[in-house]
Symmetry: C2
Subunit: 253 residues, 2 copies
């Protein structure tokens, strides 16, 4: 235990380049500006292409750069603060919900979703696909799973257009006791990628939420957020005004 | 809007391979088992090495595989549920806190940390480096920033060993009004990587927390969690027993 321990580790070569590039991005480039090509950049900083590429990949992971199809590598704007579960005990689709429904089916879900919901292998689930847009950009793609048994009063004569609204209406009639959430790293499926305007396999933050009624899971959702452009915010401090545009706090030390 | 929309996107070639591999991992391999080498795997599934490698990278991103130095690629155990801020309004270092202090310094912080804390450019901050271990594995590395102005009663005669405990003690004397959190994707610094037993640049989930006292930020922390082994859980449902070992819910659709 001592004071020197905070900065005692040798950093690899591309790491130094990364911080040099970071400074250059701050001082010489505007948000949205296209970076020079890799050969020119490598020559300017006197490094091998492989080293440069490692540094660029890190900066992309940290949200400083964006690779855009047909455009090149551009300087990324600060990540958007996306509020996840800003209020406790509110059903999806309730007032002020920022998600839009794009489709709905009723079917037996994949086994892992059945496990998440705690239902039998043959039980059907209403699956509502939703999307979330902020500042005209897609930020989230979600599948909301509502077991058919959770909404037994649902009419069986529903048009595709009335299916999702009817499921949500039945859900809202239930008293929501609470929810829990988990966040982890994942990769975008082809369908998610299309909704998020990314390539399949792009890194996403996966938020799994379980909604509890009567001590059991009445619904669950799996939402994927673009990891390049989003910071997920969890403001549980009712007394405090939470700003979503903090300064850059991506990475410490 | 319609029922076919949920599954209408063409998936790339390696994506199919990924799901085939996923099934093979379930049926033929144990957790911790070392995978055959890439050449043998590519031959078995009749794909090019590049396609195989893409699929393996996806499975690593999704936490199904782990690449371990000097060992090879192994089947990953299910991700650990790591509770982030399980109770509201609790100071770091309070009872039941699962973090261990590894060092402490007082210095002017990086500009972005000063911005996060809302302090002047010349103001000093106590920086406490902490680590979190679960099941004998390092899961998180944290820098906790406490502006010197937040703990004015602190003695100036502190040994390295008594520095962090004294800062935390002073902090606990303040009435915590609330906190907010943001989660985003980042890459491990060399120091974080060492604490987390990863290579620098490895993907990490970065959790930034601000602690509020008297309407302003009295302390802040930036914690990095291993993205390969951790699911961050946010259980705000006091009424509900939250299990941290859900079935696999990494990715929907």
């Amino acid at each position: 235990m001592g004071t020197t321990q905070l900065e005692s580790v040798q950093e690899p070569k591309y790491w130094h380049l990364k911080s040099v590039l970071n400074d250059a991005l701050d001082s010489e480039f505007e948000v949205g500006e296209i970076l020079p090509n890799e050969r020119d950049l490598a020559a300017r900083f006197g490094v091998a292409r492989a080293t440069l590429r490692q540094a660029l990949e890190q900066l992309e992971l940290e949200g400083r750069l964006q690779r855009r199809r047909g455009v090149g590598t551009t300087v990324a704007p600060p990540r958007m603060g996306v509020a996840v579960g800003p209020s406790a005990n509110v059903w999806p689709g309730a007032r002020l919900d920022t998600w839009n429904t794009v489709g709905c089916v009723e079917a037996v879900p994949p086994a892992r979703i059945g496990g998440l919901l705690g239902i039998g292998a043959e039980e059907t689930v209403h699956t509502i696909r939703r999307e979330r847009v902020m500042r005209n950009q897609p930020v989230g793609a979600e599948l909301l799973y509502v077991p058919s048994a959770s909404v037994p009063g649902l009419s069986t004569m529903l048009s595709p257009a009335s299916h999702a609204p009817a499921v949500l209406r039945e859900l809202h009639a239930l008293e929501l006791e609470g929810e829990d959430r988990a966040v982890e790293l994942g990769s975008a499926s082809a369908q998610d990628a299309k909704q998020l305007d990314r390539l399949p396999g792009a890194p996403v933050l996966v938020v799994t939420t379980r909604y509890f009624v009567g001590g059991r899971v009445a619904a669950a959702s799996v939402a994927t957020y673009r990891a390049d452009t989003c910071r997920l915010t969890f403001g549980d401090s009712g007394a405090v005004e939470v700003t979503h545009h903090q300064p850059d706090t991506r990475q410490a030390s």
